[in-house]
Symmetry: C2
Subunit: 332 residues, 2 copies
DNA sequence: TTGAAAGCGCTAACAC
DNA sequence: GTGTTAGCGCTTTCAA
């Protein structure tokens, strides 16, 4: 079997309590005995059993992360931010894909709780009342990232999506575009759907431009769906001369869809994306897009979670990170 | 405190052993008592403690995944394949970024072992002799994915990178290109560097084309580095009329770098990438590239790991998945 | 500064 | 079918 704390104690001729103390950096150990123990550990290649430790101490130094889809260019960047900060604070991460599926999300929540994680990060999905009920019952802190609960009941890290969308569309409108199209996710999606759409509409109102339903296309976030939906927009009586897309990937779809039809970007149609994923500079023309600090959202949410786990003071449980627009070449 | 198996036993007026039996689906329980227990569990909202269970059973149903960088479009796709199969077999995943850094990798290996994972998936990094020593000492099975050990000592899932590179370059050469450039990763990288470069050289030899050092540029896998390195290739006395890139992202860099200089793709220069990431169809012209089944590599490696963990028979510890070339519009 | 001993919540013999 | 009991490897009082 693998060597235990008892073996080390015996090898060093001390009690297991003393071994435990040196392993845990407890200062109440005479340097000489500390050395004895350290040597024994080395000789025996002792490696503490984190499961036993977790059972005894009720801390696993592991946090659960529920993420819609790790293969998404957006969420994987978030995940990286999370993992970096987790490492910094000595936590490991159990990563689970939810596909934004409610049942899966709730199931995962329970699985993670069974595994005794010290905290949970919930990313991206819609927070329904059913979610809220489960989250409330959680025995460990939960923080949301890139999503939020209507009532602001749970700590959450986001940008102001509606305002960001407003800014982008407003920019277009101020340049005298009369017909600005929008590519959106499903409106049930609080972030990529509802909030951004809301910003779009508000910008229209604010600029006294009538809302035209035929100018908004609901897509499923994929590049291909954007190309397809474009057909609809182009059919509108109010053919768009500018398009705001809820994600970069769909913006690329729009750009290429336009180009494939011989429509020039930005000369004939200007395009603004959202997220500033690495894709944005990997297209020609390079994409003007709303910059959302993805890595930071992950990092900040993990940091906030550590505060909850360590019972530190929380100054603000709902943090709104800044956004801006990166002007590149899909706009004039 | 949270409710334990004792509470349930009391509530149901049975012994804890019986509760354990129903929780674990042991058939030796009378239906009537099973129901009693199930009811008690429901009433008390009992949730088994996986840590205690792990300590007692020596199984955590958790596997460790050491991955170079989860935010990479390539590895995140692999990770998705891993997670899906893990879920299917009821495992969770502890995800750790290594940045292909040897010390980090070895440190992570130890951390995961401390956490008593049931198995480990090691992705992408170089396997030095030092790695091998640590891997050999692992108390749980380890499988490699998208990397391998020279001696084939450890189970590994890959495609034949050298052959794949050969195929791509050979295709170019057969079309009478005399000067085929290559964008490669560092040659220490067994996969993206050495193997692909080897395939490149072999294709040259096979077609009786002299190797010209000025035609290969070592990049750091980024889009930008590819754009930069392009300058060097274009300076060569044997200006390339075709370019083979070790990754799609660098291929995009090359394409845009060429286009920015007014060089047309594929008319003036043909380009072939590697991986067939989602980027490949998100560029114009769409990218001809070597198709590597990323998701499958993840899925198959996780499946193989489950076999090791469950002591199933292994037919082949070194699996080589098929590759092919997707011909699109960066080649004529 | 060190040791003894009581759990942590569960599984897995073993007995009945 | 069901209960008893001895660990799993560690942390954490409490004494000394």
């Amino acid at each position: 079997m693998s060597t235990t704390i008892y073996d080390v104690a015996e090898e060093a001729s001390v009690s297991m309590a003393t071994v435990s103390r040196v392993v845990n950096g407890n200062p109440n150990v005479k340097p000489a005995t500390r050395k004895k123990v350290l040597d024994a550990i080395e000789r025996l290649e002792y490696r503490p059993n984190a499961v036993a430790r977790g059972l005894a101490s009720k801390k696993t130094t592991t946090v659960g992360v529920i993420i819609p889809d790790i293969s998404s260019i957006f969420f994987s960047e978030l995940a990286r931010g999370i993992e970096d900060i987790a490492t910094m604070y000595n936590y490991n991460i159990i990563l689970c894909n939810s596909d934004k599926n409610k049942d899966k999300e709730i199931h995962l929540l329970n699985t993670l709780l069974e595994k005794q994680v010290d905290g949970i990060l919930f990313l991206g999905g819609e927070i329904t009342e059913e979610h809220a009920e489960h989250l409330r019952r959680s025995s460990v802190p939960v923080v949301l990232a890139a999503t939020f609960h209507e009532e602001g009941e749970f700590p959450a890290i986001n940008i102001d999506y509606a305002q960001a969308a407003f800014d982008a569309v407003d920019h277009l409108l101020k340049k005298d575009h009369k017909h600005v199209g929008m590519l959106t996710g499903t409106l049930e999606d609080p972030v990529n759907g509802y909030q951004k759409f809301k910003g779009y509409k508000e910008a229209l109102e604010n600029n006294n431009v009538a809302f035209d339903e035929s100018l908004v296309a609901v897509c499923d976030y994929t590049y291909d769906s954007a190309i397809e939906s474009l057909e609809g927009l182009l059919q509108s009586n109010n053919k768009p001369t500018a398009i705001f897309s809820a994600t970069d990937e769909m913006a690329l779809g729009a750009i290429h869809g336009l180009q494939d039809r011989g429509i020039r970007v930005p000369e004939d149609v200007e395009v603004i994306g959202f997220d500033n994923t690495r894709l944005a500079t990997m297209v020609r023309p390079t994409l003007t897009t709303v910059v959302q600090p993805m890595y930071d959202i992950g990092a900040v949410s993990m940091r906030l979670l550590t505060k909850y786990m360590d019972n530190e003071d929380i100054d603000e449980q709902n943090v709104v990170l800044p956004h801006r627009i990166a002007y590149r070449n899909t706009t004039k």
